[in-house]
Subunit: 410 residues, 2 copies
C-alpha cells in the first residue's frame, strides 16, 4: 500500500462541479489501494476577491491580517472537498495548515516552512481516512496564521510528501505536464516523460510557469520525486526526479521562453571596485528584479555592463540608475524594451560541447540577431528581439530534434 | 480604565463601508480610555452562501466539515475589521475562536463552550492592542474546529466578558434595544432602559427575537451584565442585569408576541400513566419543538391534552401522532393553525396579584377569545386567534400603561 500526496490547483477546484470531479478522482485513488493525502488551493478567483475586499477596508492592509483573511480561501476548499468525498462514499477529513502541523517562520504573506509535525495527518491516515490539507498556509510556533506566498500550495504538497515519506507526489494542474517548449509557440513541442530537478528549475526560472522555483528547489533539497499532470483527463504527466546516469545522455531536454524583457546597458563604466555594486545595490534597494547580467572584459579602463529585466520595471530602473550613472562617472545609460529570452536546457550539455555552436548557427542561419548571451552549467540563454522569438524557438526546437524524442549524445 | 467587550452582528459588518464605520466606533471607544475586545459575526449573507456551496457538493454535508466551512465567515470579518482599525490609526489584532482560547465540546454545528483560556487575548490587551475575536466558533480540546449554532456570536461575547471579567458587554445589533412590545405591532411601544435576565428570557423565548435564550441564560448563570444597542447611531440601548430590589416594584415589564402558532388537542386521553409520555415522546423523537402544554383535571377517567407548536410543524406532528392516538386509545386528534401567543412579562407579578384578572378583562372587553392559558412565575401567556393579535397587544399595552413608563406596584 503506497502513500500518495495529490495537489489540486485553483482551477481544478474552481466550482462545485469540479470539486465533485476531484472527489471522484481521489476516491478512485484510495479504492486503488493507496493511502491519500490531498492538498488544495483556494477556488480560482477567491484569493483575488479577498484581496479586493481587503483593499476596500484599508489602503495598505496589515500583512498579519491579510494572512488571516487569505487563509479562509483554502479552508473553504478543504471543507467542500471533504464533504464531497464523504458524500461519494469514502471517508475524508479536512485539516487547515495549522491543524496539519505545518510550522513556518513569522514572515507574513511569504512565510517559509520551518518544519512539519505530521501526527494529526498520520492519525487520520491510520484510521483509513483521506486527509485533505489546506495548501499555502501554516502557523508560527506561537500560533499565528501565516501564508507561504506565490506557489505556496505546491510547496505544501511537496513538504508534506517529504514529511510523510510519501511514495508519490502528484501536482494536478490545468496543463498536461512539462513540454519541450511552450506548445502555443512551437506546435511540434512534445510532452516530456521526465526531467531532473535542475532541468525543471532552469525551465521554470526561464519562464515555463508550470511551477514556482521554490517548490522545485524544496523537492530537490529533500529528494521528493513528483509528477506534474492534468486534472482534466487521466493521461500521465511529467515526472520530476533526481538526476540519473542515463539522463546525462540527453543533451538538450527542452527550450524555455520568456517574453516582455527589457535590456539596459550602462556604457563606459570606470573599471574600479564598487562600480557594479553601486549599480546593482541601487536596483536592489528599489526592489527591481533583474535577470541576466553581462559584463565584458575591460580593455580601456572602462567597461560596459548590461542586464535584462521585466519591461514593466524599465522606467523605474531608468529613474533609479540615472543619478548612479553620474555618481560613478559612467558615459551613458541605454535602455531598450521589446526583448525576449530563449534558453536551451539540458543536463547532458555539461559533458558535451557543441551545443552553443549549434544554437548560434541555427539562429544565424535564420537571420536572428543575438543581443546577449548568458550560460550556466546546464543552460545557454540568448536575448533576442521579441519579434523573432517564435521563429527562434521553432528553429532551435528543430535543430535539436526535440519534436521526435530526446537528443542523445552521439 | 475599564474593559469593554463589544459584539457586532452580521448586518453591522455587512459590507466594507459598514466595517469601516464599526472600526471608527471601536477606535473611539479605545480613545475614550478603555481596553476593548470586539466579537464579530460573519458579514450578512455569507453564512447562507457557504451553506449553499456545501449543498452543491453534498446532499448531506458532514457536520464536522460544515464547521470548518462556516468558521471561514467570521475569520473573514475579523481580518477585515482588524485591517480597518489598523488603517484608522489604532492597533488591532484578530483571533479565531481557537486562537482566542475558546474550547468547546465536540458536538459539531451546535457545540457548547466548555471553557475559555484568555491568555492570548490578555497578552494583546496588555500590549495596548484592540483584540478582534471571531464569534460563533471554537475548537475542541483535540483541536477540531466547532461552531456554536444559532446566536453563537452573542454567546461568544458574553462568555469572553465573563472570562475576562469585563466591566461592560455591549451587543450591537440592528434594533435600538428591547421594547415593551414589538413597535411594528404596537406603535406606542417604548424602549426599555433595563430589565432582568429572567424578564429578558421570557421576552426572548416568547418571541422578541433580539437575542437567543441560550446567551441570556449564560449571562444570567455567570452574572454578566450586558447592553443591547444599535450600531447605526449612538443612543443608549437596553441594559440586561441581575434582578434588583426596585425591579420588584415594576409589575409588568413588557409584552411578547409570537405569531405562526398552531394548536393541537388530543381529546379523551385515558387517564393512566404513560399516556402523556407516549404523546410527547413521539414528538421529541420526530424533533418537533412544542411550546405551551395544557392538561385539564381529569373528571371522567379521560382528559384533554392541548399543546402549541410552530404552524410549519403541524402536518409532521399530525402524521407522527395519528398512530399514537390509536395506540393509547384516545378519542380524537384536533388540529388548528392560525394561532398566536401574547405573553405579559414582569418580575413584579410574582408578588402582585391581579395581573391575570386585568389581562383577561381587557381582552374580554375587546371581544377577544382566549383559547389557552399558561403561566410561569413571571409570565402569563394566552393563545388567541392570530387575526386578533395586533388588537390584543395594543389593548394589553394600554391596560398595563406600558407606553408612559413602567407600571409600578400601587
Amino acid at each position: 500500500m503506497s502513500l500518495i500526496v495529490q495537489k489540486y490547483g485553483g482551477s481544478s477546484v474552481g466550482n462545485p462541479e469540479r470539486i465533485r470531479r476531484v472527489a471522484e478522482r481521489v476516491i478512485a485513488t484510495q479504492r486503488g489501494g493507496d493511502r491519500v493525502v490531498v492538498v488544495v488551493s483556494a477556488m480560482s478567483g477567491v484569493t483575488d476577491s479577498l484581496i479586493n475586499l481587503a483593499r476596500e477596508v484599508s489602503a495598505s492592509p496589515t500583512e498579519r491580517e491579510l494572512d488571516v483573511l487569505l487563509a479562509t480561501g483554502e479552508q473553504t476548499t478543504i471543507a467542500l472537498l471533504a464533504m464531497a468525498i464523504n458524500s461519494g462514499g469514502a471517508r475524508a477529513v479536512s485539516l487547515t495548515g495549522a491543524q496539519a502541523g505545518i510550522v513556518t517562520d513569522g514572515v507574513h504573506t511569504k512565510a517559509r516552512i520551518a518544519n512539519i509535525t505530521p501526527t494529526e495527518m498520520q492519525r487520520f491516515l491510520n484510521d483509513g481516512q483521506i486527509v485533505i490539507v489546506a495548501g499555502f498556509q501554516g502557523q508560527t510556533m506561537e500560533g499565528q496564521i501565516t501564508t507561504l506566498g506565490r506557489g505556496g500550495s505546491d510547496l505544501t504538497a511537496i513538504a508534506i510528501a517529504s514529511a510523510l515519506d510519501a511514495d508519490l507526489c502528484q501536482i494536478y494542474t490545468d496543463v498536461d505536464g512539462v513540454f519541450t517548449c511552450d506548445p502555443r509557440l512551437v506546435p511540434s513541442a512534445r510532452k516530456l516523460d521526465e526531467l531532473s530537478y535542475e532541468e525543471m528549475l532552469e525551465m521554470a526560472s526561464s519562464g515555463s510557469k508550470v511551477m514556482q522555483s521554490r517548490s522545485v528547489e524544496f523537492a530537490k533539497k529533500f529528494g521528493v520525486p513528483f509528477e506534474v499532470r492534468s486534472s482534466f483527463h487521466h493521461l500521465p504527466g511529467t515526472r520530476v526526479i533526481e538526476e540519473t546516469m542515463s539522463m546525462e545522455n540527453v543533451v538538450i531536454r527542452g527550450l524555455s521562453v520568456e517574453r516582455n524583457q527589457a535590456k539596459v546597458t550602462i556604457d563606459g563604466v570606470p573599471d574600479r571596485p564598487g562600480a557594479a555594486a553601486a549599480i546593482f545595490g541601487a536596483l536592489e534597494r528599489a526592489n527591481i528584479v533583474i535577470d541576466v547580467i553581462v559584463q565584458n572584459v575591460s580593455r580601456t579602463g572602462a567597461t560596459d555592463i548590461s542586464f535584462t529585466l521585466n519591461k514593466d520595471d524599465l522606467d523605474h530602473a531608468r529613474r533609479t540608475l540615472e543619478p548612479v550613472v553620474k555618481e560613478i562617472g559612467a558615459r551613458a545609460l541605454l535602455a531598450k524594451s521589446g526583448s525576449a529570452k530563449l534558453s536551451v536546457v539540458g543536463i547532458g550539455m555539461r559533458s558535451h560541447s557543441g551545443v552553443a555552436a549549434k544554437l548560434f548557427a541555427c539562429l544565424g542561419a535564420a537571420g536572428i540577431n543575438i543581443e546577449m548571451i548568458s550560460t550556466s552549467e546546464i543552460k545557454i540563454a540568448v536575448i533576442i528581439d521579441e519579434a523573432d522569438i517564435a521563429r527562434a524557438a521553432n528553429v532551435a526546437h528543430d535543430a535539436f530534434g526535440l519534436a521526435s524524442g530526446p537528443m542523445l549524445a552521439s
